[in-house]
């Protein structure tokens, strides 16, 4: 799985790729962390979360929003993200985990929010791609 930070006049966009939908989500979450902080130490405890939504795009939106919430409330930057996406009876769920690096030990900037602007979640030949603009 991989991500790239892409130019945007005011904000930052993340393009991600994964062999599975879950991997592409986790890579987008790693892009969110990279937009926040350049150098991340190997500290921090892992934590788990589950997010549910009505569709793929809504799920990516809510998953990244939840990570921003956890960042502010737990006081940690979620990195080394792992995610699995499942769908049953029209409800989508991501079961995810992240390593929470205490904000006190890093020089980090605020990413305010995830946006729907230009958002894409697409199947490609070798897996899944996502594109999301973050409000900085």
């Amino acid at each position: 799985m991989s991500f790239e930070l892409c130019p945007h006049t005011a904000d930052v966009a993340v393009a991600s790729h994964g062999e599975s939908l879950g991997e592409s989500f986790a890579a987008a979450a790693d892009g969110l962390a990279a937009a926040t902080c350049e150098e991340v130490p190997k500290t921090g405890e892992r934590f788990s979360l589950t997010v549910r939504a009505e569709g793929r795009e809504a799920l990516l939106f809510d998953y990244l929003d939840r990570l921003i919430y956890e960042r502010d409330v737990r006081g940690v930057l979620p990195v080394d993200n792992e995610a699995t996406v499942r769908e049953a009876d029209g409800e989508w769920a991501v079961e995810a985990s992240a390593r929470g690096v205490p904000l006190g030990v890093i020089a980090a900037r605020d990413v305010k929010a995830v946006t729907y602007s230009e958002m894409r979640v697409e199947r490609v030949d070798d897996g899944w791609e996502t594109y999301v603009v973050l409000d900085v």
Binding site: A10, D11, A108, R109, T115, S117
Partner: protein, 486 residues
Amino acid sequence: MTTREFDGIRLERVREHVWEIPREGEMRVPARVLASESLLERIGDDKTLKQLTNATHLPGMTGRAICMPDGHQGYGFPVGGVGATDAENGCISPGAVGYDINCGVRMMKTNLTYDDVRGREEELVESLFANVPSGLGGGGIVDGDLPTVEAVLDRGVDWALEEGWAVPADLEHCEDEGRRPDADPDAVSQKAKDRGKNQLGSLGSGNHFLEVQRVTDVYRDDVADAYGLEPDQIVVLIHCGSRGLGHQTCTDYLRKIEQRHDDLLGALPDKELAAAPAGSELAEAYYGAMCACINFAWVNRQLIMHRTRQVFERVFDRSWESMDMQLLYDVAHNIAKKEVHEVDGAERELYVHRKGATRAFPAGHPEVPAAYRDVGQPIIIPGSMGAGSYVLRGGEASMDLTFGSTAHGAGRLMSRTQAKQEFWGETVQDELRDQQQVYVKAQSGATVAEEAPGVYKDVDEVVRVSDELGIGDKVARTYPVCNIKG
């Protein structure tokens, strides 16, 4: 007729600095760009014009969707966008306000001169940086619990006055006297309140900052007198918003609207324009929540201003009252407000969305605070760390041209990813100090690179256009002395 075209969008020149995109297809109204030729070139470079035409699709859009001279691509609605929707039959759009509800700027005056500060810039910038929380996870000036957050959401700067963080004059020089009467704290989610608890009185990061400045130029003596500004005077400019609490509130309502009004959303060209029909339960709830976030942001800036007074007391060993550290004004530039405007000869109540745009009411308008009603509302336009900022006053033409609005800043020119390739934070700091006597201290070198003076448009040109159009008239110019950021 002179026309210009960018990516298939054609603009017709109406007169100097006024360009119109005629109504076509699903557009409910035409759109206008207020820009000089050079600013229009920049505006045409990214997706600003597409986002502006998208905004004309909002139900109840009235008159025109308008892009200010500092406009640039945002998400959904462009930054620098003004859109007025009918408050009875239209809609209200969280996306057209933005995530950082009541992001804005306030300016505090002092009776110090540049000579009083010169030679003490390092001490001042270090002390401000140590005492005003910034960046991510830096906490807030007030350690907030849930009752505190709810009191702030409900009562705004009245809360700060009760708690000793404000004086009555601060309220008299703030829009709405620092308290939105329509605020509904119950409409703000627990998640949002959780995020607000440890951020009350904090700058955040990105383009937010606190800057000590000196007045370098005065353009209108009578208005500058009324504002209490004179050459060489030291002032303090504070730029920040409603922090995670506001961001979460916008996010929450975007999702609620998506789930409840998907028919309306499906008719819009961009999901980020999500709008609740006027009169619907969600429209009322969002308006109440947004007004509560406006209160939170005012208190946020108030706490930072009052803390700055305390820092000045320590550095200059005098009381803040003896340095006459008084609020000039506080302006919001991410906001929607119910306002009455004249449209086609009739008065109508509208939701005026200003996203990266500043209210600019002229002299005589009843909503201008009594202190400034004879000269017009102060407008504060921050520039970059290496350029000047401006104080304007609401212009006579603003009510006809822009629903009483003007620009909000210089406007970005370069992406953050490119800025980090072009600039190195420490080098930017060294050059600003050695060549321009501007002392900068930041939590992150990357933020300095992303906010380097070269990433912004020419603020002088933005203000020239505002002044020549008569929507916001030049009063004074200021120049940075010390700057702290996240």
